[in-house]
Symmetry: C2
Subunit: 321 residues, 2 copies
């Protein structure tokens, strides 16, 4: 049945479910969504290519999880509540050993966010996963990159900034990790948790937000450019896992500043809202850490543990560099 | 500059434009769309893979056109008015010789439908184009596959059913076409016209609609299954171009029944609405042809020119068969 399984059978078997909140789900030319009155529809799209965004060694269930997680992370960064998603899947052959666990990981995460797959396209080709995700946010309340103000505190979510990159370095053979450290960082790389609840709780609290996908310096740079401000980061304040703390300083810095694939939220808020930020984080069940300050002066400065401050280049991971 | 052009620069240079109707366009974590009150949002997604959905010989401008056209065709089949789209583009390298004309073809067609690119993702990888398109349709008025009723007339748009497949056969070296025929059929394959205006004009007139992408038999089959009916097609009635009329009967039949990639609308309407169908087609500036009838009896029957009727298998092109 593997070679003979057709495209429509594949969709039916692995991905079709009854429409829930969507007016019309998988199986017609279009899906139909009905946003609630007064809501804006937030849309984000990500394309994951084997060898570029994930390794061929990733278990299919984790790949299904991650493909949706990175898109939900974009909704989180806008403070949007997830509604639905579409899947465009190119894969070399219709292999049940891949498709079963892939669908489990994908739809399992979808279920945990009460969202549904409303449409898609499958085709033979190199393994490539394109997801477009839809969320809703009250008109005018979306968290944007452009709202950071001088004097705001910069915050980051999570306790393990740079761990995903550390796992990648271990896969590449550039560093050797003890078994527990390897498992923990591998989970960070393969099973990121999109900070959806935090994004929702930060509406009306944060002045700007972005999710960390290109690396901290690059993503801070996006916010600074969009907001027309500068920033100073306290390197000693960056949340660091036990696994990463055991690495040498140069590797630690590379993982935390240039890492990418963290899928934590980086956001700004006025200092007088620090308690509101902490309350939002507590409600969302995730830790947050103040890591710096927005400056009126353009540019990005890094403050070392000893107090020295140096200019940084705000250039992150670039898929064509 | 080719190798050094980064992902963000690439988006800026080729794809970024000011937001028009979208509340927020390219450049944040999400785009924001604001559907009008009472409207449903129609969503469709298609993934095009080099070697599978298009040949490496296609001029980039035509590829840009087609990538959006096949998605607009899905909106047309739902009777939805196009609003916006996202682009997920994987390409081997940031080549201006490709990107310039590709963006021209893509955004040129977008301009003709007054829609805008609101988000996307670009990455290095095999040439793969994923587009998700958004349209709006008054709640409850979308054209579905499931509405065909016994006694309805089956119609198809356009005058050259099967020409895209004929061009593919010529590229594959299985048939030789005269220069003019080759150019005309190649245009059908590479520059399909999405029947957006026709889809809009058929709201309230057609009982069901689908766009022809998998081949006539396969797509008729989708409608019959969704509607729980059967149909009889008049083979002699299928709209046939001069180029295809010059081919032998077996090739003609293969191109018209199994062809795929036509991007015409197939729709049903009660016989008493024939004048309304013709008026809709005239308003939309495209020809339509009655090609058969919906039956209460399940199954798909083909009536030959001599009146003989035989059962057909309703299996279309399948990307994994």
């Amino acid at each position: 049945m593997i070679g003979a399984m057709g495209e429509f059978e594949l969709i039916d078997r692995y991905f079709r479910r009854p429409a829930q909140r969507a007016a019309l789900g998988v199986g017609d030319d279009c899906a139909l969504l009905q946003p609630a009155p007064g809501m804006q529809l937030a849309v984000s799209t990500d394309l994951l290519v084997e060898g570029r965004h994930f390794l061929s060694t990733v278990p299919p269930q984790r790949l299904g999880h991650k493909a949706l997680a990175v898109n939900l992370s974009d909704l989180a960064a806008c403070g949007a509540a997830p509604l639905a998603f579409t899947l465009a899947l190119s894969l070399p052959r219709a292999d049940p050993e891949f498709l079963g666990p892939f669908a489990d990981g994908l739809l399992g995460l979808a279920d945990r966010h009460a969202i549904e797959l409303v449409g898609g396209d499958t085709t033979a080709g190199p393994l490539t996963i394109g997801i477009t995700v839809f969320g809703e946010v009250p008109a005018g309340q979306a968290l944007l990159r452009s709202g950071a103000c001088a004097g705001d505190t910069l915050w980051v979510s999570g306790a393990a900034l740079g761990d995903a990159r550390l796992a990648l370095e271990a896969w590449r053979g550039r560093v050797t990790l003890a078994g527990d450290d390897f498992d923990a960082t591998r989970r960070a790389m393969e099973l990121p948790t999109p900070r959806v609840a935090l994004g929702l709780a930060l509406r009306g609290v944060a002045t700007s937000a972005i999710d960390l996908s290109d690396g901290l310096l690059g993503d801070v740079g996006h916010v600074l450019r969009a907001s027309g401000v500068g920033a100073t980061l306290d390197l000693a304040a960056l949340p660091t896992s036990a696994a990463l703390a055991r690495q040498d300083a140069a590797l630690r810095r590379r993982c935390q500043l240039d890492g990418g694939d963290d899928y934590e939220l980086l956001f700004s808020a006025p200092p007088q809202r620090a308690l509101a930020v902490q309350a939002a984080a507590q409600a969302a069940g995730v830790g947050v850490t103040p890591i710096g300050r927005i400056d009126a002066e353009p540019g990005l400065r890094l403050r070392e543990a000893d107090g020295r401050v140096a200019e940084a280049s705000a250039r992150g991971y670039d898929h064509f560099a």
